[in-house]
Amino acid sequence: MTRPPPAQATSTEAYLRDAGPRLADLCTACGACFVACPMVDVIGLRGADASAASAGLRLLARGEAGPDETVKWAGACAKSGLCIAACPEREAGLDAMLLVRIARQRAINDTRQLGAKGDPLAFPRVKTFARLQLTDEEQKRWLE
């Protein structure tokens, strides 16, 4: 059981906006996160330049366009988390998985190098599954 970290901003949107450049400043583009990532094999990038790919994260996290390899890699992040421990700047405060996450968000919303993957039927679908299985009382108490 842990107490989540204290608030550092007034919203998650503001936090992520501020965290991108801060994490980018901590990153040395050593490529350790890329080397540790198992998704690199899945998307056929194992032979790519790890340092260049991670340098691309810094660009994207600051809202600048990144190289294609970085965009493809960030877009395929499956939250394996192995990059977190692999990062030599972890002790300095660099959460590598969060940096990749922010890079991906910027590639979707700012540089438009990634397409959005939202499923408009996701909520209607889970609501329908709920109504198939939950009693009225359960729906009232659990879903409000």
């Binding site: 550092q8 998650t12 499956a78 988390g81 609501k127 879903l143």
Partner: protein
């Protein structure tokens, strides 16, 4: 859950003595109502006073990276609701199921919103109560189980070890670790073309090679993806919660798996949601081909 409360004292933990918690089951767990109910039951057996919360009204926002403002609003609303429960009901701990929700709370929601509660994963809470819960595992479960694992989420909670420690307490069970796959659960692999099928094939090949008769999933999305393989090569697909329920002599139904196998909800349930909704939203998912052909 008739017949369950009579067993409660057997765990040796007085009801509610461990404190009040909110069980935050997330959105997609709504496909698996039995897992929600059984998880609540297990937490109660571990001594917690449990109320559940989930669904779109408690969305963490993690699936809305393409809508940063909407995601921010969702996360603020959810934190506010948990803060309110902590203040008004004394539910000072939010117990998560979904690893996406848990990581999103720790990494993104809390840094952007003042949080007045602690967070723990359900496997942490139950593993801590493992010795007491084990007194309730009175029914042998003679299965040789391959535990389906992912690398992800272990950066936050050692979930693979926690689940293994729990199911190993079941009399008669043998547990074999499956390959540790990329991602935090199968839905993250399903989103990347070509990622899920090889992972499922490695798991299944290893389960056959190790002569396992059961594959045990940890998370709901893995259960959703693997349920369609139930009975392939004589191997059953169960969630770890189902296994604990079996050991407690409780019904461990799995409607989703049964529906994937060709069953259907009863007519009254389909009429309740509307046949058009059912055909549009539910049938395509249930009839999607299994991950392995």
């Amino acid at each position: 859950m008739a017949g369950v409360t009579t067993q409660h004292e057997a765990s040796g933990i007085p009801k509610g003595s461990a404190g009040k918690v909110t069980f935050w089951f997330g959105c997609n767990m709504l496909r698996h109502a039995e897992l929600i109910r059984l998880s609540m039951l297990l937490l109660e057996k571990a001594g917690y006073d449990v109320e559940a919360a989930g669904g779109p009204g408690y969305c963490c926002g993690t699936a809305h990276d393409h809508q940063p403002k909407a995601a921010s609003t969702m996360s603020a609303r959810t934190v506010d609701r948990f803060n309110e429960r902590a203040q008004s009901e004394g539910r000072g701990t939010v117990v998560t199921w979904c690893p996406s929700c848990h990581m999103h709370m720790h990494d993104i929601m809390a840094p952007g919103n003042p949080v007045q509660f602690d967070v723990a994963h359900v496997t942490e809470m139950l593993a801590d109560a493992g010795p007491s819960l084990a007194r309730l595992f009175t029914t042998p479960v003679p299965r040789r189980v391959m535990l389906h694992r992912h690398h992800g989420f272990n950066s936050h909670v050692a979930v693979n070890d926690k689940v293994r420690s729990l199911i190993e307490r079941i009399p008669g069970i043998e547990v074999v670790d499956g390959p540790a796959e990329a991602g935090h659960m199968c839905s993250s692999l399903a989103a990347v073309p070509g990622a899920l099928e090889p992972a499922a094939r490695r798991l299944w090949t290893e389960a056959v090679a190790q002569r396992c008769d059961t594959v045990a999933t940890i998370f709901h999305s893995c259960h959703r993806e693997l349920a369609g393989l139930d009975n392939r090569d004589g191997i059953r697909v169960r969630n770890w919660v189902h296994l604990l329920a079996e050991a407690m002599g409780l019904p461990a139904a799995d409607a989703y798996r049964d529906w994937k196998a060709g069953g259907a909800p009863d007519i009254a349930a389909i009429e309740r949601v509307g046949e058009a909704h059912f055909e549009k939203l539910i049938v395509p998912e249930l009839r999607k081909p299994a991950v392995l052909r």
